[in-house]
Subunit: 186 residues, 2 copies
């Protein structure tokens, strides 16, 4: 059973924070106004819970894809393949709740800032870990330094999400990701 927070997350994800009205949330959660406010306080608190859920899902997925017991290059490939998937067709057009929230609310809401900032740090750390292991195994191209390459990769995938909003073409995303990886693995 999908939780009310997850259903709310879906709505915020599709429409953004400001464009999501209470009736949208009521419809999606199948809760009455009273119940929703009793359970979550207000729209902003519910949004924070939805964002936390989104982040938890993303980090869990990364922990699987970039598991240290796995071949690091395979992990990175799987990780990027996930982005290609989420960037194609309807998924791509829907975009990414984190990127949308960063652009819509960051800088004006301290709670949001903390969450977005720490997510990107966590993401970068996981990628840097995988790249370090790849380097130790001699799989990285000459001159690639794991920590700066991780920053580049994070920017690259988040940028993919932006461009994918209007051009969610799987074949191009795939080719772009492949070409990107070619520059970093030897």
């Amino acid at each position: 059973m999908e939780s009310a927070v997850e259903r709310a997350m879906d709505v915020f994800w599709s429409r953004g924070y400001h464009a999501t009205a209470l009736p949208d949330l009521l419809r999606a959660t199948k809760l009455s106004r009273g119940s929703l406010y009793a359970a979550f306080g207000d729209k902003h608190s519910l949004f924070l819970l939805a964002l936390d859920r989104y982040i938890a899902i993303a980090l869990t997925r990364m922990d699987i894809e970039l598991d240290p017991r796995r071949e690091p290059i395979d992990g990175l490939r799987a990780y990027l393949a996930g982005y290609v998937d989420r960037n194609s067709g309807a998924n791509g057009r829907r975009g990414c709740l984190l990127v949308a929230t960063a652009m819509e609310l960051a800088g004006r809401d301290a709670e949001i800032d903390r969450r977005i900032g720490s997510f990107f740090k966590a993401m970068e750390a996981r990628v840097a870990g995988a790249l370090s292991r790849a380097e130790a195994a001699g799989k990285l191209a000459d001159g690639v330094e794991p920590s700066s390459a991780a920053r580049i990769l994070v920017c690259f995938v988040e940028g993919l999400r932006v461009v994918g909003k209007t051009a969610p073409t799987r074949i191009i995303s795939q080719a772009t990701v492949d070409a990107f990886l070619d520059r970093f693995i030897g």
Copy 2:
């Protein structure tokens, strides 16, 4: 003299479309309600004009930075240096109107879709041109193909804008951009 459209652009840029209320626009443009509606029709039309202005400014800047008469690598460095600048401190926290609009409105507004899509195409074409000239001059790293590298670069800089919303650190942006370029130029 700054135009009313540019002043409106500033507001939309700082707050986003939905979070910008009419009084914000009146204050910024110093127009009365009646005059604003007489001149621009409605909020949405004004937003489109503001977005067009933003795009025109961005493309003009790119045309200067990536001018074919210039050394292509220098041009690309200047182009990326501009991103470092716009990504640092208050500029970074303010973000990019195009990225914010892509995330907030693309997929739900055909006029917006067209503009965002064609902007990214135009941007990619200019970068691809500069990379082709660099390749012809033998300045690109082995195995770098201009058109796919251009797609990667566009994603990278747009991703920079996203991450820069919560971590607008000049030194890191600069280092990341430098490391990025190192992978592509020989």
